[in-house]
């Protein structure tokens, strides 16, 4: 396992949760992302918008450590991804909450049990986390549906369950890939507000979406992805950063 670079740690301690410098990534022979320069900071929401097939999902795979960078430097939660060993990457993954475009659940389990899964993985006993999970269920507005098996939930309920699960272990970095897909505008806005709330506890939030209007919901650092190239559109408003500090 590679030892953490002091410079990376220093950046991380000063709030840079993600820093990409000249990163390329892709699948097989195909390069999808090219020369990415990106930063996500603690207490900020970064919104990455772009058309379909622009590379947004690949970008979230890169940030959630499912896709290794081919070149450049990717430092996520203080760890240089290219140099870290499997255990170090697994430890970083535990500090990342991920809401997939099509979330995968254990379908026969209840939403409650699925939400509790990250806490069970840390070895906590049900009696220790049951109140926390109930709180999350209320926070995402899942209500009584939490006790139903996942296979019986609607699309919006599944999405809320995915968000609750992503937040369960109190992650430092939250990634959401098209979290408003197939939702009504009202539900979509509510989901983005929920995710944005997490900056108040110091987490960094990265949302990838086709919906440009989400930038109006909350103060976000707005980035645009186009054909694998990322560019900054706007910075987060200072008053939001002050609210965090």
């Amino acid at each position: 396992m590679a030892r953490a670079n002091p410079v990376d740690l220093d950046l991380y301690e000063r709030g840079a949760l993600v820093r990409l410098a000249g990163v390329d990534a892709g699948y097989g022979e195909t390069t999808v992302l090219a020369g990415l320069e990106f930063e996500a900071r603690a207490g900020e929401v970064a919104l990455v918008t772009g058309p379909a097939a622009a590379g947004k999902t690949t970008f979230t795979h890169l940030l959630r450590l499912a896709l290794p960078p081919r070149s450049g430097r990717a430092v996520i939660l203080g760890v240089d991804v290219a140099r870290a060993g499997a255990r170090a990457l697994a430890n970083v993954k535990k500090r990342i909450g991920y809401v997939a475009e099509t979330p995968v659940f254990i379908e026969q389990w209840s939403a409650f049990d699925n939400i509790a899964m990250p806490l069970r993985l840390t070895g906590r006993k049900p009696r220790d986390y049951v109140d926390d999970v109930r709180e999350l269920v209320d926070f995402v507005g899942l209500g009584d549906a939490a006790d139903l098996p996942i296979e019986q939930l609607s699309g919006a309920e599944r999405r809320r369950t995915a968000i609750a699960r992503a937040l369960a272990a109190k992650p430092q970095l939250i990634l959401a890939d098209d979290p408003t897909a197939n939702m009504s505008p009202a539900d979509g806005r509510r989901v983005v507000r929920l995710l944005s709330e997490m900056r108040r506890v110091g987490a960094g939030v990265v949302i990838a979406s086709q919906d440009e209007s989400l930038a109006d919901i909350s103060s976000v650092a707005h980035w645009r992805m186009d054909r694998g190239h990322l560019s900054r559109v706007s910075f987060a408003r200072p008053e939001e950063a002050e609210a965090y500090e």
Partner: protein, 286 residues
């Protein structure tokens, strides 16, 4: 284990149980073959029948028995009763013989210890009897090296055949257990996304498969033991349940004891390998 033994898991359980049953049954068969080979070998090399020729009278039989008791290699010597002779004649294909119809036999059954190949056991027995003042002949001599080795071959074949079959069944169990890992693929993917290492994710599925294999092996092993007892009762007329504890040695039950352990290990290993593969797929997309 949530929703245990439903659907595919139920079918998998019985597949593992049948494989464990087959392996244990073949193992028990191999033990039976081994014991029969040992018994045959003992009877062939460690058994003799002596006929007392002179002097006449029951004193000669007693003297011969005493002389044999002092002879090297002889572990026991006992005059053959008419009832015993009738039983042997029946076993050797002589049909029904009434003990009371038999004449005065003047025979002595002798059991022998293991002898080096170059020793003339029959000659030594006759010499020992002569020293005791008894003239006798060997009418059923222990067989020498000629014709020997068959029992050893049978035992080797039984042992390696059973081991080979058990390994094939273990492979079958291992491959079948991969279906459980496939059923748990979504859990492995979720665990991977949540930061579980390959060992954690695969270990969880392997534990579940191992427990399934343990119970299936237990059921298969018990069924094999039950089938073995039934075969024993049917194959050896006159055998009763009360006699079984004396007939069955602890080592005979080894295949039954190994069935749950083997099934658990094979199922766990198969599921672990498959789950590890699924984790690797989920962990790295590029």
């Amino acid at each position: 284990m949530r929703n245990a033994l439903s659907g595919v898991e139920h079918a998998l359980f019985w597949l593992l149980a049948v494989a464990a049953f087959a392996a244990a049954a073949v193992g028990l068969g191999a033990r039976a073959a081994d014991r029969m080979a040992v018994a045959y070998e003992n009877q062939r090399t460690n058994y003799a029948i002596v006929r007392v020729i002179a002097p006449d009278g029951p004193e000669a039989i007693a003297a011969a028995t005493t002389a044999l008791g002092a002879a090297p290699l002889v572990t026991s010597a006992a005059p053959m009763t008419a009832g015993r002779a009738a039983e042997l004649l029946r076993q050797w294909g002589g049909g029904e013989v009434a003990a009371e119809d038999l004449p005065d036999l003047r025979l002595i059954e002798v059991e022998l210890g293991p002898a080096p190949a170059q020793v003339d056991v029959s000659g030594d027995i006759v010499a020992a009897l002569a020293q005791g003042g008894v003239t006798a002949e060997i009418i059923h001599a222990p067989e020498g090296a000629a014709g020997g080795g068959l029992a050893t071959q049978v035992r080797q074949f039984a042992l390696w055949g059973a081991i080979g079959f058990a390994l094939v069944m273990a492979l079958l169990v291992s491959l079948a257990a991969r279906t459980l890992a496939a059923r748990r693929r979504e859990m492995v993917t979720v665990m991977c996304d949540l930061g579980a290492t390959r060992g954690q994710a695969a270990g969880r599925v392997a534990d579940e498969a191992a427990i399934l294999g343990l119970y299936a092996g237990l059921v298969g092993g018990i069924l094999a033991a039950f089938a073995g007892i039934v075969v024993l009762l049917l194959a050896i007329p006159g055998t009763t349940l009360d006699a079984l504890p004396e007939m069955i040695l602890p080592i005979d039950m080894l295949p039954v004891a190994l069935a749950p352990v083997g099934a658990a290990v094979a199922a766990g290993a198969g599921a672990r390998a498959a789950a590890g593969y699924f984790h690797a797929q989920a962990a790295r997309l590029g």
